[in-house]
Point group: C2
Chain length 227, copies 2
């Protein structure tokens, strides 16, 4: 049951994908699920699924599998979705608005509590009930709101500046959507949402699919997704 030491990013991602898969099952699905079913739906190995789940859940039952209800709560508990965290958003342009609109964040325990923008035309407006403040107020308001997560959704050229302001406001974790390498002190955590890199990966897979691996290929993995 629940380990304490840091787990690998790959494992963490898989756990998240299990949770999402199970939560997404249509109404009226059986209330149990086997590791093989999960593995098949996600293109993974069933032993791996069982091993992953063993580190999280109270275990499945032979011939039955895992009780989805229990599994969901075990996963959520382990992944820490229980305690909601608050964040501020810098940049209320299209991307910022898209993030504000993204219904799904609350499922992951995130709530955006304030937005900032440097554009005076946006300052003072509100979007989906969220007020947009002047970027100058970032350090002050972050401190007052005692928020620890900052989201950067500004153009590349202004990202470092936004980051600095957030850090000044006591932000400890930065979620960066701008295509730049932010410089931050070691005390802070940065996660780059590098959409360019992500796109490149898609294009890479596509190319690999179109020009099949050839003689050299050894481990062309078979089917990943359901037809």
């Amino acid at each position: 049951m629940a380990e304490l030491r840091p787990i690998s990013i790959m494992l963490y991602k898989r756990l998240l994908s299990y949770l999402r898969l199970i939560k997404q099952r249509p109404e009226g699905s059986p209330d149990n699920i086997s590791s093989a079913t999960i593995a098949h739906a996600l293109g993974l190995n069933d032993v791996q699924v069982r091993k992953d789940l063993a580190s999280v859940s109270s275990g499945g039952k032979p011939k039955i599998g895992y009780i989805t209800k229990d599994l969901v709560s075990d996963l959520e508990h382990f992944l820490g979705h229980d305690n909601c965290s608050e964040a501020v958003l810098v940049g209320a342009g299209n991307l910022g608005k898209a993030l504000i609109s993204y219904e799904n964040f609350e499922n992951y325990g995130l709530k955006i509590v304030a937005a900032f923008d440097a554009d005076p035309r946006l300052v003072g407006t509100s979007f989906k009930g969220l007020d947009v403040f002047s970027a100058e107020r970032i350090p002050d308001l972050c401190r007052r709101l005692k928020v620890h997560i900052g989201i950067i959704a500004v153009p590349a050229a202004r990202a470092q500046q936004a980051c600095d302001a957030l850090l000044e406001g006591g932000i400890m974790a930065v979620w960066n959507f701008a295509p730049v390498n932010l410089q931050v002190p070691e005390s802070a955590v940065v996660r780059n949402e590098d959409m360019g890199a992500s796109l490149a990966l898609l294009m890479k897979s596509l190319k690999e699919k179109m020009s099949p691996p050839g003689e050299n290929a050894r481990t062309a993995r078979p089917g990943r997704r359901r037809p």
Copy 2:
């Protein structure tokens, strides 16, 4: 020099990060760079950087390092940024508009050539020079434009439908921003841009940083980013 067999996703991501780092260096930076410098800036091991680069470039020079100009072109060539690919976008809401505005995609060889939306108020409009067509025309226009990449930026509930239309139009690679597991045939490639999962990872790192690993921790990696 340049391997042919499929390379690992982690390696591919690192190569992308090298490219981005080097391209981002300020004007007037030296025209050479050492593996140690790259490694330090990205929080990696320098041997790893050299090994990665060896698979891509014509090599560095002892005492000098790598010539950035050559390295950039080697990386770009290897990563396939040379040949630009075209894509269509489904969903011209805030997220869609943010993607259209994202200056950076062209650096990765992607051009969005058409946008679709189900909302009649958006159909017929254009944004940054890109026309928005009715979602009904997806299969037809995709075929006519001979596009192979589709981007899904619609709400979760409509994502599978959008995906089906794209597949009907001959799309082979789907970049999915909706928080659902799309069902696609094996012939297609899907990349899920799961922002919820990404957020969860950030929150995980933050938690790990705030409550230090404790006695159990064995390999707390030291410094990752510059102060």
